[in-house]
Point group: C2
Chain length 444, copies 2
């Protein structure tokens, strides 16, 4: 009887655990679900006969060793900074280890030992990174096989509220880690365009947008992610003139969000001494150029150079940033205060469903003609548990783990799912579950 | 025979060591000058009979202990991060310890032991911090004694090239640490204005300027320093409506400097992979919005929304940022590349002299009338060694050390020079050396 362990039973684990339990019935596996909070593990396993829910401290080496040495494979959904000790145990005892996280420096250093122990250390097998890598590589290898010369690759992804539940003026709700949304893009975006490396600092990021169209959903806008350059070699596209990855939002979002960036309200680098006692209004006011003759709303309109009844002012008002409510968070950074304000308005309601949108645009030349291939993915959540995010992050991991337990992947050592042996069967099974890209090609 | 040790014999130590050697002749002291680079210590002591030059590793505890236990007082001009072990030795053996640096957390924690050992641990006794604290406190205590109510305090300081040697279009040369100049202002400026705390992010810092006039020198512009709020309590001004500290430059500098900020060229947070082989022109181009129809200079003019022959374009051209010269620095951050380019143009020539300008503006009410007190300091360098910076950083420390060795300061424990017992004699002696504020008061 094979044993597989899932570490981390939070929001993103529902689809993964459900999938593994389904497989366990057919394959006669034991699925161990481990979390620091036992009740989360118990809730997800729901007394399934093939399951064991355990309390687990991933920062305790003896605990990691004790459980992991009994497994055949381990899937970690821990926050990225907490994978290492579990990965170390897995490699030490010769167990496969899978995550949806970027390869950290210390995980990378385990690659050699993983290879010598004949196990797979598979990273970036979620949505973004994960499904993006797999779907992109499938197209890239197909185009290369056809003799096409790829001139540009743009890849954008976003987690949003599904349009049926999109009932706020920002057309956005938090469907994932709110802190990451507030801090998104800080630093300098790096990408390649028309053969040149380009740098774009944070304070201009949300005003340099591209438009992406999804059939049946309309237009979205995309802003560049922090580092697109590192993907050029991963995808084997070292000579590509244009390569840019980014984040998708509903049209109009970035211009409004840019208000907070321009004012400095997303700074996480200092603390506001009296933040608990300040009101939302005082917080907002402290970032606006002072003018004692104007109200805070009027100062905002002046700062944005719009009329007081402009749509963007209404969107800001709707968030509550001009209200006299106390912040109630002690010694908080501006980013933390902003996150608190946004969480009150942007949280998903019980009945709300989320949506994942991803689009790859490839411009290429073949036989003297120029083409654009557009590959789009839209996934909507099924329920509170089986969100689009939980499905697209968890199912690739689940399928990958299944293939390993059934000895259908022979690859070993440190890997990304950019290898055909991995991406082909996973994409095929995702397609059978309705997680499927729509592809169109046009002459340009 | 009393012994005093100076740790650090670099650029800023000349005036301090010269002063202590002069005093040593009158007081019969021994002056030990210690540096990791013995030749620097020997150059500064110049075989003066009361001097000893030693090679010294301030990061080695036995070395610190061995020398410091023989001293009566220690003055450290080390970089801020390197004071700690020397301070620890000094406190352990009951020796006075003086620096021009901000109080770090770990230095602050030595305060209690310093008090119990009956020694003074005196920080922030240079120019800025240092002379600014002392001169401000002298005025604040005088105004308070007169029953004045202080409504606003603005304090600005800058290190510049003296006007007689100001021969470049930026009216600026590096007279101090170039890296600090390139990174200046990153984060969010925090100050109080008209009774309210205000925050100003980096990307707007260099466009929100105030003008300061110096008799005989003309106008300067000032931008806010990162944190002015922490000084409100230090100066005993908890109810003051307006408190802002900042940096002075010649008028026109900030607008031009802002070009680099807006483009993102001051980012120190990532490395440019092929920086060594890039040219200055390619570096500049990579930050500009692309337009294949335009030259790099034309793109810059378009970005700045100015004509191609505008003065700001000439200033940028003068720096060499459009040249085809190779950068030659491997794996450098944008800030490091920019620093390299600037150092070629902004370095002081052998004959150049520097200048320190500092101005305090106090608005206050007394007997129903409103006044503005302006207190200005201008110090010019005397020679390559005795720069304005070396004098204004080193002489307060030298005078402070002398007063301690002559038992003319009774204060003990962790202190700043905001205490009258310290600032009064030091300011008086600085005045006798020509380092003197000019004060004017006008009705407003």
């Amino acid at each position: 009887m094979k044993k597989i362990m899932v570490i981390g039973a939070g929001r993103s684990s529902a689809s993964l655990i459900r999938y593994l339990l389904e497989q366990s019935e057919r394959e006669n596996w034991k699925v161990v679900v481990a979390d620091y909070d036992l009740s989360l593990a118990e809730e997800k396993t729901n007394k399934h006969p093939n399951s064991i829910a355990i309390q687990f401290d991933a920062q305790d080496v003896p605990t990691c060793d004790k459980y992991i040495k009994q497994m055949d494979a381990v899937v970690s959904l821990l926050p990225p900074s907490l994978h290492y000790l579990a990965a170390l145990s897995a490699v030490k005892f010769g167990k496969h280890f899978l995550t949806a996280s970027y390869v950290s420096k210390e995980i990378g250093e385990l690659g050699k030992e993983a290879l010598s122990k004949n196990v797979l250390l598979l990273n970036e097998l979620g949505l973004d990174p994960g499904i993006d890598h797999m779907s992109a590589m499938q197209i890239i290898e197909k185009l290369k096989a056809e003799g096409a010369e790829i001139k540009a690759f743009k890849s954008y992804c976003g987690g949003l509220v599904a349009p049926e539940y999109d009932d706020n003026p920002w057309n956005y709700k938090f469907t994932w880690n709110p802190r990451n949304v507030v801090l998104a893009g800080q630093g300098t975006a790096q990408y390649r365009k028309d053969g040149k490396i380009r740098y774009l600092p944070y304070h201009r990021l949300f005003s340099e947008l591209e438009t992406f169209h999804f059939e049946g959903l309309g237009d979205f806008e995309g802003y560049a992610n922090r580092n697109s350059l590192s993907y050029i070699d991963i995808y084997g596209l070292s000579d590509i003139p244009t390569m840019i990855r980014g984040t998708l939002r509903r049209s109009g979002y970035a211009r409004s969000w840019n208000t907070f960036v321009q004012l400095g309200m997303t700074d996480d680098g200092f603390r506001i001494a009296h933040s608990a006692d300040w009101t939302y209004r005082e917080f907002t006011d402290s970032f606006l150029p002072e003018n004692p003759a104007l109200s805070t709303e009027q100062k905002m309109a002046a700062f944005l150079n719009v009329a007081e009844n402009a749509e963007i002012i209404d969107k800001l008002k709707w968030l509550g940033i001009f209200e006299s409510q106390k912040i109630g968070l002690a010694n908080a950074s501006p980013a933390q205060v902003l996150q608190k304000i946004l969480e009150e308005k942007w949280q998903l309601k019980q009945e709300d469903k989320d949506m994942i949108v991803m689009q790859h645009l490839f411009d290429y030349q073949k036989d003297g003609k120029k083409y654009r291939l557009t590959s789009s993915l839209v996934v909507k959540g099924d329920s509170v548990q089986e969100t689009a995010m939980a499905k697209t992050v968890g199912l690739p991991l689940g399928i990958g783990a299944k293939l390993l337990l059934k000895d259908q992947i022979s690859l070993r050592g440190l890997q990304l799912p950019t290898v055909r042996e991995i991406y082909e069967p996973i994409l095929a099974e995702l397609k059978s579950m309705g997680i499927e890209f729509t592809e169109t090609t046009e002459l340009i």
